[in-house]
Symmetry: C2
Subunit: 203 residues, 2 copies
Amino acid sequence: MADAILDFWFDFASTYSYPAALRIRPLAREAGVAVRFRPFLLGPIFKSQGWDTSPFNLYPAKGRHMWRDLERLCADLSLPFRRPEPFPQNSLLAARVALVGLDEPWGEEFCVAVFRAEFADGRRIDDPGTMAEILGGLKVAAAPVLAAAQADESKARLRAQTEEAQRRGLFGAPTFSTADGELFWGNDRLERALLWAKQHARA
Amino acid sequence: MADAILDFWFDFASTYSYPAALRIRPLAREAGVAVRFRPFLLGPIFKSQGWDTSPFNLYPAKGRHMWRDLERLCADLSLPFRRPEPFPQNSLLAARVALVGLDEPWGEEFCVAVFRAEFADGRRIDDPGTMAEILGGLKVAAAPVLAAAQADESKARLRAQTEEAQRRGLFGAPTFSTADGELFWGNDRLERALLWAKQHARA
């Protein structure tokens, strides 16, 4: 059971990725599963389905349910919740910074802090000032990180990550993927995905 | 707490309505909530969003995940599962028969039996022979029921039911709605919807 591992694919703009990001680390610890945070961009995947914005904007009844459902869900989890304006936020910068951070000890904390800034505090995550503030809160020097995030290598890594997501069949976020190729889509599949990862770990 | 009540909106063609229909009665009994079975048609609602078939057919990655997810879910619930051919099934006849039955003591059993025929046994639910067999299994004379189901009154009732679903903001199935206007979409929201219905019942 050495490598019970679960990949956590998320887009910082994705609404249900917020509760998933806040829940996954304690639940994974409890389940004895290692988690890899894998930010990607839903935009190019939505575009390939003919959508130029979130399906929650394109289909208003679905959108109205999602906002109310998320509000109820966050209340149940005692998570503060504010609806981001505009929605969806542009998550490009945050995802690039996250990829830099996930090579360092502060990456996961950064991701969680971005979700909190966006969905609890109503901050804009496309603003480098917000990123700098979050990095500062983690005692990380912002300037070199923001420079690295905007370098060609970071851009290429995020593109590759998004292409891998699409190749694996992802169509939404959050999605959890296991080493044996199972996909579990949605915050409400997190517990089941962890159990699968645990039960199907290579010996 | 006299009227803790939950409306269960479903389309017989809807995949996740199958586990919901099989789960809802025991869970509701346990929760002390009365359930009203409300068959409707998703087709007209999908059409008004510009879709001429199930989104699971229109968006192949989403469809692939759904079939695998449903397979895993049914295995977890020890429910037999076969993928209906064709998908989606035409659910018009079954919904009309169900509306006749839901005025009688056999309506809910009929609904559950249709879901089993379709998703466990791979039967076609647009076939009057399948309907007659299910009715026979419930000791109900099929001919007068099938005649009533095809009468103008039944057709009008199903249209009205579908219009009410749309007016309430339904966009998918299963959906659970409460007396105070909450909507919970998806088999995975059933437990939460029952709890809501119970906690917010009028005294």
